[in-house]
């Protein structure tokens, strides 16, 4: 396909007085892995539901794979895969029965495609297990298999890794990359910052608004107002209290066992240490930090 896979144009959805999605516009190109980052209830799921024609937009429109998302839903759904937050699998059916069922619903009855899908998500050997007894990680992979059984060109994943352990999450993302390499466009929502780093482009959403959509590197250089520093000290709480607004320090936050501080670009380590000392704090170490999406996200959150 030549043009963009998804084009959202001022897409809006209101529930009564509440604006769940507020005039968002963006485009996704074929083969991209686009992440959608934001807290629960910020409108990520509502966006996906509109793109799949499950909800009617209150305003604006979306074109998915060349079809109007709300008026040509059948065309969109036949070509798109969807994996919802609650893994939509039948606990009282086996792995194979679940896949055969969803395959049949898509009109796929050949055994080969079912086997192929089983292999793709790594469930070979577990065909005859009841899904109710599977771990969250296995269930997640089956849910992905269900979304993939009809070879969609576009895959919507709505918080696919919630409640899944880190190892399973990593395996899952490897699978996503494999799919992207085969040309599948992936649109994935998450509230894990580290996962968003895996995406080619990341959209940051809050309270229904799409605040930014760019590559992780561009987001960090454009959105962050300065350099990131890690300050190790025993006086964490005092630091949180005293440092903000001191000297040229722009932002102070807690990050695990140390403080994370943003200072204007070009500020030297020496100068920063001086500022810290002037607050009466004893820093054991001051190091230049690697900016993360979390820093980006937090800098939005504090606006």
């Amino acid at each position: 396909m030549a043009g963009p896979v998804i084009v959202a144009d001022n897409l809006t959805r209101r529930f009564g007085d509440f604006v769940a999605v507020d005039h968002i516009s963006f485009a996704v190109q074929p083969g991209e892995v686009v992440g959608y980052l934001g807290p629960n209830g910020c409108g990520k799921t509502t966006t996906i539901r509109m793109l799949l024609g499950l909800l009617q937009p209150s305003d604006g429109q979306a074109v998915v794979m060349g079809y109007d998302a709300f008026h040509q839903t059948e065309e969109v759904r036949a070509r798109a895969g969807y994996m919802s937050q609650k893994f939509a699998i039948y606990d009282d059916l086996t792995v194979l029965e679940n896949l055969v069922f969803y395959g049949g619903v898509y009109g796929i009855n050949d055994r080969e495609r079912i086997e192929e899908t089983l292999g793709l998500v790594g469930l070979v050997g577990h065909e005859h297990e009841l899904t109710g007894g599977l771990s969250a990680g296995w269930r997640q992979r089956l849910a992905l298999g269900i979304a993939l059984v009809h070879k969609p060109q576009l895959l919507f994943l709505d918080e696919p890794t919630s409640g899944v352990d880190p190892t399973a999450r990593r395996i899952f993302w490897e699978l996503i990359y494999e799919l992207a390499a085969q040309g599948v466009t992936v649109f994935v929502t998450t509230h894990y910052m580290d996962e968003a780093e895996y995406c080619e482009r990341v959209g940051i959403m809050r309270a229904g608004k799409l605040l930014a959509l760019d590559t992780p590197a561009a987001l960090k250089s454009k959105i962050l107002p300065g350099d990131v520093w890690d300050i190790h000290t025993d006086q964490l709480l005092a630091g949180l209290d005293l440092l903000p607004g001191l000297g040229s320090i722009m932002r102070v936050g807690l990050s695990g066992d140390h403080l994370r501080v943003i200072c204007p670009r070009g500020l030297g380590k020496r100068e920063l240490e001086k500022v810290i000392a002037s607050a009466g704090l004893q820093a054991t170490a001051v190091e230049a930090g690697e900016p993360t999406l979390e820093d980006v996200f937090l800098s939005f959150a504090k606006d």
Binding site: A80, A88, D92, G104, V105
Partner: protein, 375 residues
Amino acid sequence: MNSRLFSIIRKEFIQILRDPRTLMMILFIPVMQLFLLGYAATTDVKNVPLAVWDQSRSPESRKLLDAFRAADYFRIAYDVGSEDDIRELIESSDARAGLIIPPDYSQRLLDGDAQVAMVLDGSDSTVGATALSTARLIGQSHAAKLMQEQAARLGRSAGVEPPLEVRTQVWYNPDLVSAYFMIPGVIGMILFAITSILTATTIVRERERGTIEQLIVTPIRSWELVVGKLMPYVILSLFDTLVVLALGNLCFGVPVRGNLGLIITLSGLLLLSGLGIGLFASTIANTQQEAMLTTWMTLLPAIFLSGFLFPLEAMPAVLRWVSYLIPLRYYLVIIRSLMLKGVGAAALKSEIIPLAVFGIGIMTAAALRFRKRLD
């Protein structure tokens, strides 16, 4: 065959077979209901325990007691010596009725003005009413027999026949066995209860688990989803109908005089109402429990106001009007007539039409609501 529809039907069957509760409901409960209502819920009164205070102790009084014994309704359980004994036995429910024969019974019989007293326990109105009319009948026929004997003794052999005799003839159920009334009702109840409850819960379960959302994003159409999910329950409840018909016939001797094809067809008409109510309930309820409760609310009036247990003729006018809104009401008339009278469809027009109207109406309303909730 349509692959989407077939997939849904197959999946639904697998789920039914794996769920012990649903299986119970489909396979075990109908048979249990059949036997419970066929045997226990019988209103045929028999062997009512009777306490007798015979003060006469004469050949005449023994003849009267023989007359009571001969009728199946009473069992002379106690021979007592005072009215207080009778009161005690009735209070403790050991006896349901008491018969008091005065000391001068044989003498007054000759004089032509003998009286005996019958005391009945009215706390169970069914037993009381039956015992009352039976006791009267026994008394009357015994009196008639005595008159004939007297006339014979006096040499007037003929001419004392009573001037009027009502010759009764009971059609379709000559022995008035209540199982004949109950078992067709069980069929109606099963069809209605299974389809409405199971339809509502099976659809709400998909919504609870989030699978319905997954199904909606597939190319499946609303009607395929609805028909595919309902079809297994249609097949299973028609299977239940045949099982109950067969068991009712084998174990209780309830005849199946009507055309079997017509019975199945018209049962399908009732299913339309049951499925419609279940589907409608599923669009209101958010959890399986809510779905259960909602369908129960329609089941209760169906049990009490359809004529399933209590005759419609005995209801106050207001409740009788309400009963016209209950689809089971029409079906019960249909199935009882088909099984016992063996009539054809033409005789049941005034039941078939409202049943069809109700079924199509509720199904259309439910389907429209269901479609809306998908969007």
